[in-house]
């Protein structure tokens, strides 16, 4: 594909968004839907500006912070656990069904239990997000590690490497790309779970914003909340992809 010029690229990036907004306007004024149920894009934008001077910055901060802590704790545990499962085939045979059992449980289904055990404070939300990130991350991690070709370890041994040298100079570099993928997947799942975790009587956060707005049928606020979640998740993913490109430029396939 020919390399396109910068203005052309920007136009191509903006185009799908403009199409989405156009479709939204089209639907709003088509007469097919009740205008009271679908706020127009400019109404949502106005509401966004108004909320930015009010509670929205705090909501964004709280939600981002919860996701960040949940993902950080989740991957912190998922990386060593996933590594061990991927590296020691024997362990995997027994643990794999257990991991898949827990991964298959939607985090939302656990909310009633979490409330019973952890109450309705920050801890409860962190637990939910931790749960979601851990199981998403651990699977990515161990599947990646299990695919590492044993040839690199063998080569290192023939060159005289000790176990410690093999770990530091062969296994760690081969693990980095899988850690980054695990974080990316965990982030995606954590954002998806965020609203659910903020349903637990949260005062602040994008999920709480949406929840409160729905109680008062403020559809434009619900739209603002949803669009914020989408854009923040997108921004985080872009950042992580940029980091991946820098850290693992040696890989054949770039993220």
């Amino acid at each position: 594909m020919p390399r396109s010029s910068a203005p052309r690229r920007i136009a191509l990036i903006l185009l799908p968004w403009l199409v989405l907004v156009a479709l939204w306007y089209g639907l709003r004024y088509s007469g097919l839907v009740n205008p009271a149920l679908v706020p127009a894009p400019h109404e949502v934008a106005t509401r966004f500006v108004a909320l930015m001077g009010d509670r929205l910055p705090m909501d964004i901060l709280m939600s981002t912070q919860r996701v960040f802590i949940g993902v950080a704790l989740g991957t912190l545990v998922a990386v060593p656990v996933g590594f061990c499962l991927g590296w020691y085939r024997g362990v995997r045979t027994f643990i794999d069904p257990v991991i898949n059992f827990f991964r298959a449980l939607p985090p939302i289904a656990l909310i009633p239990l979490v409330i019973v055990y952890f109450g309705i404070g920050e801890v409860a939300k962190t637990v939910i997000l931790f749960y979601a990130s851990f199981f998403a991350g651990v699977i990515v991690m161990y599947e990646g590690i299990a695919q590492i070709s044993p040839i690199y370890v063998r080569v290192a041994r023939t060159l005289g490497a000790t176990d410690l040298e093999i770990f530091a100079r062969v296994i760690v570099p081969l693990t980095v790309p899988h850690i980054l993928t695990a974080v990316r997947v965990a982030l995606g799942v954590a954002w998806a779970t965020l609203v659910a975790s903020e349903l637990i009587a949260a005062q602040q956060g994008l999920g709480a914003l949406i929840q409160n707005a729905s109680a008062f049928f403020q559809l434009d606020i619900i739209y603002v909340g949803i669009i914020c979640i989408g854009f923040i998740a997108l921004a985080m993913d872009l950042l992580l992809r940029a980091a991946t490109r820098r850290l693992v430029a040696w890989q054949d396939r770039l993220a």
């Binding site: 070709s149 040839i151 690199y152 063998r154 080569v155 290192a156 041994r157 023939t158 060159l159 005289g160 490497a161 000790t162 040298e165 100079r169 062969v170 570099p173 081969l174 693992v248 430029a249 040696w250 890989q251 054949d252």
Partner: protein
């Protein structure tokens, strides 16, 4: 020159456990290899040739018998034996220069740090990789990756070179260029070489001795001395003895392939 063998396989038996009981891969192999020899092992695929190399590399222990290096049993892998694998095994996360430096920077390496840069430069030049020093392997062709694997093995100055079908994955042109390069670098540095191959031409072109092994379990069928000296060039291909030798070894290998397919028929009954 001392006539003591550097490598000795002494009645080596290797059995691997399988669900149907132990499977014998090597059955009483005895072979001596002296300093500076280039010995090729040739035989049907899947017969256990690679196990011979793995024994010497230290990845496999004999079930019976001994594998001796300068009179001492092989205990495990070590930098005195450079191993070249068919799948190259170049480290994708390191540049060409870092790949060659890998072995030099390990604790097991005794060469003084000040000399590392010169060693790396020397092998990059020798293997034609100097222009790609800062590239990652993903930018290299198959032939270049194999040259890099060779440079990396050479950098730690192994006394032995063990190669398992090193050029098997390369196209014919690259393969022949790699064979010439190998002869050239061996001319520059005296090494004792064990090559596993299934190419009769490659074995004759490179070796001083050729060992034909049987279908599984592998035994030594015949050992053939190659009548050409070193340095050696393309012209040996035109030597009438080359054609004779090729016909003779082909015949032996074909017989073993036939024996192997008879085995498989028996197994499937």
């Amino acid at each position: 020159m001392s006539t003591e063998p550097r490598i000795r396989f002494d009645d080596v038996v290797v059995e691997f456990p399988t669900a149907q009981g132990p499977m014998r891969v090597l059955d009483g192999v005895s072979l001596d290899i002296r300093q500076g020899e280039f010995v090729s092992i040739i035989g049907p695929s899947g017969c256990g040739k690679t196990t011979l190399m793995n024994l010497l590399a230290g990845f496999v222990q004999p079930s019976r018998g001994q594998v001796l290096l300068d009179g001492r049993p092989v205990a495990g892998p070590g930098p005195d034996r450079g191993v070249i694998f068919q799948e190259y095994g170049v480290f994708p996360w390191l540049t060409v220069r870092q790949n060659i430096a890998f072995g030099l920077r390990l604790g097991a390496n005794r060469t003084p740090k000040a000399g590392h840069a010169a060693i790396i430069e020397r092998y990059m030049r020798l293997m034609g990789l100097a222009d790609f020093a800062e590239h990652h392997p993903k930018h290299l062709s198959g032939g270049m990756r194999q040259r890099l694997a060779l440079a990396r093995a050479y950098a730690v100055r192994p006394q032995f070179l063990l190669m398992d079908e090193p050029f098997g994955a390369l196209d014919a042109q690259t393969r022949s260029a790699m064979q010439d390069l190998l002869l050239e670098v061996l001319q520059a540095e005296d090494k004792t070489v064990l090559l596993i191959t299934h190419s009769v031409d490659e074995a004759i072109y490179l070796s001083s001795r050729i060992v034909v092994v049987t279908a599984r379990p592998a035994r030594i069928r015949t050992v053939i001395d190659v009548p050409f000296g070193y340095p050696r060039g393309e012209s040996v291909h035109e030597d009438p003895r080359f054609a004779q030798l090729r016909a003779q070894i082909r015949e032996l290998v074909m017989q073993e392939y036939a024996a192997q397919s008879r085995q498989q028929v028996r197994l499937s009954d």
